[in-house]
């Protein structure tokens, strides 16, 4: 800490947040719970609180968490989301909300793919290889009979 009557100061921007790492796609089954990781950096010149908010395709906040991020630092958020109950492909958003400045500093979108659970596949019927010698045997028998008659002169 320092002391003086006057000081030269500089304009500050306060904390400024940007989303630096997030999933591009999250896949799962209807109503399945998934955990996603979002990393936020503070590019401002002071420490600040950042709330990461996950919004679904209807704009509803489905998960959020707040952390203090030091100036020049970054934090990774771990958020649990529940996928839609209906199958389909959705676009959800991630917001970095600046608590200090009351602003949304950054927004990213990601894809949510929901599909039915895969049903067990029917066992593939094997080719009845045993039929080949059977057919060959029957053919030989038939062929032999014919020739016998043919050469018995």
């Amino acid at each position: 800490m320092s002391e003086s009557l006057s000081a030269t100061v500089e304009e500050t921007t306060g904390p400024q947040f940007s989303i630096t790492d997030y999933p591009s796609t999250v896949s799962g089954t209807p109503s399945e719970t998934k955990t996603i990781s979002v990393t936020v950096a503070n590019n401002g010149d002071t420490d600040g609180d950042c709330t990461v908010r996950i919004k679904d395709h209807n704009g509803n906040v489905v998960a959020s968490d707040t952390k203090t991020i030091t100036a020049g630092g970054s934090e990774t958020y771990s958020l649990s989301i529940t996928l839609p109950s209906e199958t389909g492909t959705y676009t959800w958003t991630i917001e970095a909300y600046n608590v200090t400045n009351d602003t949304v500093d950054d927004t990213k979108s990601f894809t949510v793919e929901v599909s039915e659970a895969p049903t067990p596949t029917a066992k593939k019927r094997e080719f009845p290889w045993w039929i080949i010698p059977l057919l060959l045997g029957l053919g030989y028998i038939a062929f032999s009979g014919y020739k016998g008659e043919e050469y018995e002169e």
Partner: protein, 439 residues
Amino acid sequence: MSLSVLEIVRWTRSNDTDQIEELVLLDKRDTLFTKQTQSGETGTEYLKKVALDLVNKTASETVLYTATDGIVRDGLKIFGKNITTRRFGGYGMIGGDCDLEGDIMDLDDPSKILCLCDGASNCNLTSNVSKIYYDPISGKIITGGGAGGRWIWIIDPSDLSVVGRVSESWIRDKNGCRIEPIPRDDEKVFVIIASGTTVDTKYLRIGIVDIQDIIDNASSYPNVDDLGSWQELYTSSNYYGAGALNAKSNGKYIVMALHNGTSMLFARYDPVNNTLTELTTLVDRGPLWRGWFSTYTSEQKHIIYEEDGETVFQEISDSEANDVKSTAFWFVLLTNTSTQEVIFKGLSPDGNVIPWIEWDFENNKFRLIDFLTGNPISMDVVLLWSRLQSSLAERGTLPYIANNRASKITVSDWTNIPNPPTSNVKVLYIVPDFLGVGV
């Protein structure tokens, strides 16, 4: 608010003299720079660094430099975010490394001295320095010219070199004159020019000019009144300057020391009405926001004046205020020349604390602390802006507020440093509001 004056430390100085101990720079809570003049103008002077022991309420001196006369008188602390803190002093020196020249000294390394001269074979102190400011926009020091001085010097503090100088058309070729800038809350300065009593003609002139105009043209040694941004405000043929003008602003007025040919006097310049008013009180003053702090040694009391520099707001008896003194803002050095005891005191709003400002640039915050204990305190402060940085020194000043760049807030804990009003006005002054005067 019940104003009083509290003792901070006292010590017995190392060299006997009948002269004042002067406050060159209040650097921080535990460090002062002072100067001690020996009897008579030609006596040896001592520049000292004084370490304050705030627990035991005493101090110890270290002599940094001696010369026949002069050394440094006005102090500057270059201080701020992303700026390396440095300390300088300016004055004129007789003897020493800058004989009969003005000088700028690095107080952290007194062997680094810049001797100033206007090019004459015998400078005869025409380069004398009174007032010393830092301009963070250009990164340069801007001085005023004290008794005998006729130049505003532009100095590069990085290598302690001369960038250029600016004079005024009438005093340019005359010894024994004065020229002092007074900062404002914008990118301009008032410039006050006066002759001295050794010059035949009474001459007082006040104008206003852009700081950037001075910086840009200093290398060609122009006259300030020839610069494009010069604006003439006031002239008078009734006054000389008295010694150094030692002009100071309390935010609303500028008070300066003049001479009418018979005696010294103080006068108040009102920039709004462009008028000069002679004051009847003959005391030097430290600037408070819209007020002044001084000491009547003859009546053993401290006085807080209201903004007109004459109306007494409050008188505080002090049996120790009976000898020569040196006032800097809300601090005062009293010297008992019989015992050689020096007493450092400060103005208190409540009889318990002396307000002081602590800065935390890492977190972009400031707070008020008690100078005596370092504990945080709560108090109203006024925030003022300027392009030029002045320091807590005997010759320091507040900026004149021309653009309403002043605001008052109550500070009770760490408080965010506000953003500068413009990109070229980013020096913030934080001044305790002792008088409770509105902004």
